[in-house]
Symmetry: C2
Subunit: 208 residues, 2 copies
DNA sequence: TGTACATCAGTGAACGCGCGTTCACTGATGTAC
DNA sequence: TGTACATCAGTGAACGCGCGTTCACTGATGTAC
């Protein structure tokens, strides 16, 4: 099971040995560069150094490969968030770290992030799954970080707002729409301050 | 300059008479259904009842048509926001109406919204343009609605957060990721409460 | 340890398709006289 | 009002291209004896 070819041009063996993983990796790269719609089986096969037909030994087709990528991205994101949530420090520090992990994931793994949100079947929000979803983790983190609650507001309400803010910052940043000039705080600072404001200002909509 | 054909199958004239507008309209529809990447000149021409080649009498090519759509969407959005901002009522009512207008635009004109954010050259954020951009309108609205300021925080900082929250809610909603179950507030309520929280909790990141 | 052979991962040629774009053309419009 | 004609919007055929997918095949692997 060792990799037989070390690079795309290395053809020392008829069998690739690690083709499935290599194709997923290639898809991740191309999706990051061109989006889900711009991703092509032919390109992925070429990058890996294999005939397009070889792909069908490992996937039912293009859509199946995309679903696999989205699934892995989803798992990766959940793991990162869970790791941040169980890291050292005060609850607030861990919660802050979780937000940073979300933005960092979107920035470092744009292929995964796009696959998750643009592929059919990839649901990030509230859902019934085996393991806790990112959204579940967010609700959990909010509750343990702010045990006094949010002025009577449902934690899931706050979680949706925090998630929307995070997603908005991540996608605007990826689209190059956030200003990058000096003196303007970056998305990490925007998220940190925004989340605190959302939490502390939760009752504002009611009290006036 | 009256329209010669009333429908796609109506071929009572050799000349279309209103082809440019009809093509933009068709593009808007297809982008809404399939995204910018899934939009096709051939489909647009077929829907309008014209040969694909006819398109080149009005646009340099596919990219030029997309840019035109994005530009119109941008203008439409700016007009809607400006209208809300100058409508009747208290500053807070007008500001709230502005947020609703943004979400409504994304929902009612998904083709425009996608074109704006996915097409090269379409910038929604801070920019140097002739007319005030949506972001400029947002900053202006914040300042006039909350003349006492935001605890020393730059209004543009708040504006970025409000915009990110709006964009996040709009895109999550379009992707079907927001829960639609009973008892869960919709995106309009989420935005209204979120914006108030962001405004009133602006100083939270500093004071605690 | 050596050999026969089943398994199966990858090949390469081919397919049908729809795409964006070009080109010489043609038919309708609308203006000059 | 009628006619000649320049303008130009749309036609239709063709192009080269890259796509996803299929198929019979072949070469390497690894197991049974």
């Amino acid at each position: 099971m060792r990799p037989w070819r070390e690079g795309p041009g290395d053809r020392r063996s008829y069998h690739h040995g690690n083709l499935k993983e290599a194709l997923i990796e290639a898809a991740r790269r191309f999706i990051a560069e061109r989006g889900v719609g711009g991703f092509t089986l032919v390109d992925a096969a070429r990058l890996v150094g294999v005939t397009p037909a070889a792909l069908y030994r490992h996937f039912r087709g293009r859509e199946a490969l995309l679903e696999e990528v989205a699934g892995r991205g989803f798992t990766d994101l959940a793991e990162r968030l869970a790791r941040a949530l169980t890291s050292r420090g005060t609850p607030l520090e861990r919660f802050t770290r979780m937000g940073e992990a979300y933005l960092a994931f979107a920035e470092e793994e744009p292929g995964y992030y796009a696959a998750i949100f643009e592929t059919r079947g990839g649901h990030l929000g509230p859902q019934a799954a085996e393991r806790p979803s990112p959204f579940d983790l967010l609700v959990e983190a909010l509750q343990s970080t702010f045990p006094d609650g949010f002025g009577g507001v449902d934690p899931r309400f706050i979680a949706l707002e925090v998630w929307a803010l995070s997603h908005g910052l991540a996608t605007l940043s990826a689209a190059g729409q956030l200003p990058r000039s000096q003196g303007v705080p970056d998305k990490y600072e925007l998220l940190r301050a925004g989340v605190l404001a959302l939490v502390h200002g939760a009752g504002a909509a009611r009290s006036g």
